[in-house]
């Protein structure tokens, strides 16, 4: 691997120069001394695992966040005020975010031209808006009727509208943040064509992704971030996917999870969880076994049904058919209460909306499942509860000044540890985990992985769904891959690779061929 410091690309003028950029959130260092340049007219990919700092970097470049130290120059002009309006109007930088923000009840044209409408201010010229929008869509070779309401469009088409909107504001640098994460393979192809048109139009692009094939197909340069640091930079033509993956994962972390050497649990033993042909909203006919002490990963695109499968097993959403067994006995959770009573735990992927109780203390968040044990004459024994919480939070090393602190004051990783402490309080025999390290910094991530391993060694069965493939490859004994609501393959950890899983998950092999 070449050291990033020695590489200079100077054939074209750099559109963006990032120098010594750091961003700290309290004690969390999201970015540390990142220096990189993005040449004009190119597509530069920024890669890294979840939590590597990609999003923070993009947010700063789009003006949604300001750096703690360091400078950003766009075409030599230093950015002094980090707010989106300034970056767009003065520096011509636009972000195409993962979560699209469009006015749903307005037309495509109105959304594209919002704020830059032709015609006099209070009364924009409706026909010229439509014409101008149609012209922009034409330039992108996208066929959408500008008069359609945005609400009627699918997410992929809405994304194209956002791109056209950036073009209407004459953006010269477009930041695409994991643009294919919400797209099907066919939709991705369409996006790639639009990206080619953008390049032809002379737009510089920053492309954030952790999908290898598309990055290799589209980019001219690849930068890798890990743990908030810039750890590698290559012209795409001169590097192999393996080298990039090695830089993304980092040997230290990988070595730490040398797979445990207990033999795979015998297939004849009664599995902790057995599903036969279960169906529900978003998944169909799922057969899956998880043995005590086994970690089974569920991989798949976000719409593959893996999230819904976990919710179904837990009783958060209804199951419409099939049979579920827990330790050989029929088990149906009609509500989460049933699952909790059977000592089944569920860590939701949307921590902020579904995990934490945001107005309550760390202690209350940890104790909520065991209040019944600490009651006297119908009243809660606050002091005993406090001791419980201190003990549980201490065991998982939740960093907090006191468990009386509000849970929202903790970092993402510590919130997640507090939620794990909550679920461990019921001594679960089966744990259903959705995106267990989303928004968790690397240090806490390693601790959480170790915790899963020790729980499994103690006989807990773990079913974990994640969009983070390196994570699944690291922690799972077997990986079940889902696509379109079905399990399309189960791969033992020893044979699983990111490419194999991805090929199954996408159903088609189009991406792979591109690479």
């Amino acid at each position: 691997m070449t050291s990033p410091a020695t590489i200079t690309i100077s054939t074209t003028a750099a559109a963006v120069e990032v120098t010594g950029l750091s961003k700290h959130f309290g004690s969390v260092r999201a970015l540390q001394d990142v220096t990189l340049s993005v040449p004009a007219g190119n597509l530069t990919a920024v890669m890294g695992e979840n939590g590597a700092g990609k999003s923070t970097l993009m947010k700063i470049l789009a003006g949604l966040d300001s750096p703690t130290t360091g400078t950003v120059r766009v075409n030599g002009d230093e950015v002094r005020r980090f707010d989106p309006a300034n970056l767009l109007s003065r520096h011509r930088v636009a972000l195409v975010p993962q979560e699209l923000a469009l006015a749903q009840d307005r037309t495509v044209a109105e959304n594209i031209m919002l704020g830059v409408e032709p015609g006099s201010r209070p009364f924009p010229h409706r026909r010229r808006i439509d014409e101008r929008a149609a012209e922009l869509l034409d330039r992108l070779a996208v066929r959408i009727d500008p008069r359609r309401s945005v609400r009627d469009l699918d997410a992929a088409t809405q994304q194209l509208v956002v791109i056209a909107r950036s073009l209407a504001r004459e953006a010269r640098l477009m930041i695409l943040d994991e643009p294919t994460s919400i797209l099907s393979p066919a939709e991705s192809e369409r996006l790639f064509e639009v990206i080619h048109s953008l390049r032809a139009a002379g737009v510089t692009m920053l492309y954030v992704s952790h999908r290898m094939p598309e990055v290799f197909a589209l980019s001219q340069h690849i930068h890798v971030l890990r743990d908030g640091r810039h750890v590698g930079h290559w012209p795409t033509a001169e590097v192999s996917p393996d080298t990039v993956v090695a830089a993304m994962v980092g040997r230290e972390l990988a070595a730490e999870f040398a797979r445990h050497d207990t033999p795979a649990p015998a297939a004849t033993a009664t599995p902790r969880l057995r599903t036969r042909g279960i169906c529900g909203t978003g998944f169909t006919d799922v057969d899956l076994d998880v043995a005590p002490g086994e970690v089974v990963g569920v991989a798949g695109l976000p719409d593959s049904g893996r999230i819904e499968l976990l919710r179904g097993i837990f009783g958060a959403d209804p199951i419409s058919g099939g049979e579920l067994q827990l330790d050989g006995k029929t088990f149906t959770a009609r509500t989460p209460r049933d699952a909790i009573d059977a000592r089944v735990a569920y860590l939701p992927g949307e921590r902020r909306q579904q995990g934490i109780l945001p107005t309550m203390s760390v202690a209350d968040n940890v104790n909520i499942l065991t209040l019944g044990r600490r009651q006297r004459f119908g009243l809660l024994r606050r002091r005993a509860l406090r001791r419980d919480a201190d003990k549980r939070a201490g065991e998982l090393r939740v960093k907090t000044s006191s468990t009386a602190q509000g849970i929202t004051q903790l970092s993402g990783g510590n919130q997640q540890k507090a939620l794990l402490a909550r679920w461990l309080s019921i001594e679960p025999r089966l744990m259903l985990l959705d995106e267990p390290t989303r928004g968790v910094d690397v240090g806490a991530k390693a601790e959480i992985y170790r915790l899963f391993r020790s729980l499994a060694d103690a006989g807990v069965a773990i079913l974990v769904s994640s969009s983070d493939l390196p994570e699944l490859l690291t922690i799972s004994d077997r990986i079940a891959v889902m696509a379109a609501g079905r399990v399309v393959g189960v791969i033992p950890a020893s044979e699983a690779t990111e490419e194999k899983v991805m090929a199954l998950a996408t159903g088609a092999h189009t991406m792979k061929e591109k690479a």
């Binding site: 959130f25 309290g26 004690s27 969390v28 837990f314 958060a316 509500t335 989460p336 209460r337 699952a339 909790i340 009573d341 569920y346 939701p348 909306q353 579904q354 995990g355 934490i356 109780l357 945001p358 107005t359 309550m360 760390v362 209350d364 909520i368 499942l369 209040l371 019944g372 009651q375 119908g378 009243l379 809660l380 606050r382 201190d390 939070a393 201490g394 090393r397 939740v398 960093k399 907090t400 000044s401 006191s402 468990t403 009386a404 602190q405 509000g406 929202t408 004051q409 970092s411 909550r422």
Partner: protein, 341 residues
């Protein structure tokens, strides 16, 4: 952010070291700003309102705020649940009219009082069932029942006022609820309010139901995934709110010996204001009984000062509304300054 730079350690140790002083804890309590505002108002009253300082005046204020206070206790449960109950003023009228009709039909006063309270409980239960069952916002449901219950109250009263004759011994005993004084000193209404407030505070801060109320109000989905029956928690809160509004109505009837179909109109806004001034957030999940009691006292003292100054009740209405906006704005500002949510 300050906490995050503290060295990592087991949670116990640093807690012992940096235990905040009582004063610091007071400043960070949600009730602090409301309480300070009440103190300021108190000082103002002492300065500008003749006869403000005095046991008699305070007991009068206590008498005046008791009914609103009892309603506000119930509304607190609803608001912490991230819901709203706009119908409590109508339920107040309903409870009063039902009790009044039972009294004029010579029903023994304890039964008549219970009848009024039960009417409130049923009305609250219906609010809860409709909110949860139809899955529509309680703002809409109770905006509807605000009108429905008022209509029922008017129908029941037949449009004519109900007067209780104090020569009837049954009525005389009933009137002790609203007019009597404990030990010949403390207004009975104030005693009942205090009892309800203490019970409400214990339920909210010490019972599992109270815990679940904060959980559901903070994040209903997270609470559901922790096995809490969120529907039951919310329905219970609406039922509590209705029951207490019914009780307040019964006390109102007992105080005046008189009720008509429109009695209680607009009281819901005062009760909700008291809860908001007391620091509960309309987003749910936060608020305390102590806060609500301070909020109720604040409104009571404000009106008392204006009364003593001989300011017209029209202006009092204006002032109460202005204070709500000021209180929430000040609270917001203070919390942003101290970096706390």
């Amino acid at each position: 952010m300050v906490q995050m730079t503290a060295p990592a350690a087991a949670p116990k140790a640093p807690a012992a070291e940096s235990r905040p002083s009582l004063f610091q804890r007071f400043l960070h309590a949600r009730e602090a700003s409301t309480f300070l505002a009440l103190v300021v108002l108190f000082a103002l009253g002492t300065l500008i309102a003749p006869g403000f300082l005095g046991a008699n005046n305070f007991l009068t204020v206590g008498q005046q705020i008791a009914q609103i206070g009892i309603m506000a206790i119930g509304v607190t449960f609803v608001i912490i649940n991230a819901e709203i109950d706009l119908s409590v003023g109508s339920i107040y009228g309903l409870g009063a009219v039902v009790a009044g009709l039972l009294m004029t039909s010579d029903v023994a006063w304890p039964l008549a009082a219970l009848g009024g309270i039960a009417a409130g409980a049923v009305a609250g239960l219906l609010n809860g069932l409709m909110t949860v069952g139809f899955g529509i916002p309680s703002f809409i449901v109770t905006l509807g029942t605000l009108s429905v219950y008022r209509g029922v109250t008017l129908l029941l009263s037949g449009g004519s006022p109900i007067s209780l004759s104090s020569s009837d011994p049954n009525v005389a005993e009933f009137n002790l609820l609203g007019q009597g004084k404990l030990f010949g000193l403390l207004p009975m209404q104030l005693v009942i309010f205090a009892l309800v407030a203490v019970l409400g505070a214990i339920v909210l801060s010490r019972s599992r139901y109270g815990f679940n109320t904060y959980a559901v109000g903070g994040s209903a989905e997270a609470a559901r995934l922790c096995g809490i029956n969120t529907a039951r928690v919310k329905i219970t809160a609406f039922t509590l709110s209705g029951t207490l509004a019914g009780l307040a109505g019964v006390l109102g009837l007992s105080f005046l010996s008189y009720v008509q179909g429109v009695t209680g109109t607009g009281m819901e806004l005062v009760a909700i204001s008291a809860v908001i001034i007391g620091g509960a957030a309309l987003f749910g999940g936060s608020g305390t009984m102590l806060g609500t009691v301070i909020g109720v006292a604040f409104i009571g003292v404000l009106q008392n000062i204006l009364n003593l100054r001989g300011i017209s009740s029209f202006w009092q209405t204006v002032a109460t509304g202005g204070v709500i906006i000021l209180a929430v704005a000040a609270d917001n500002w203070l919390r942003r300054r101290s970096g706390r949510r």
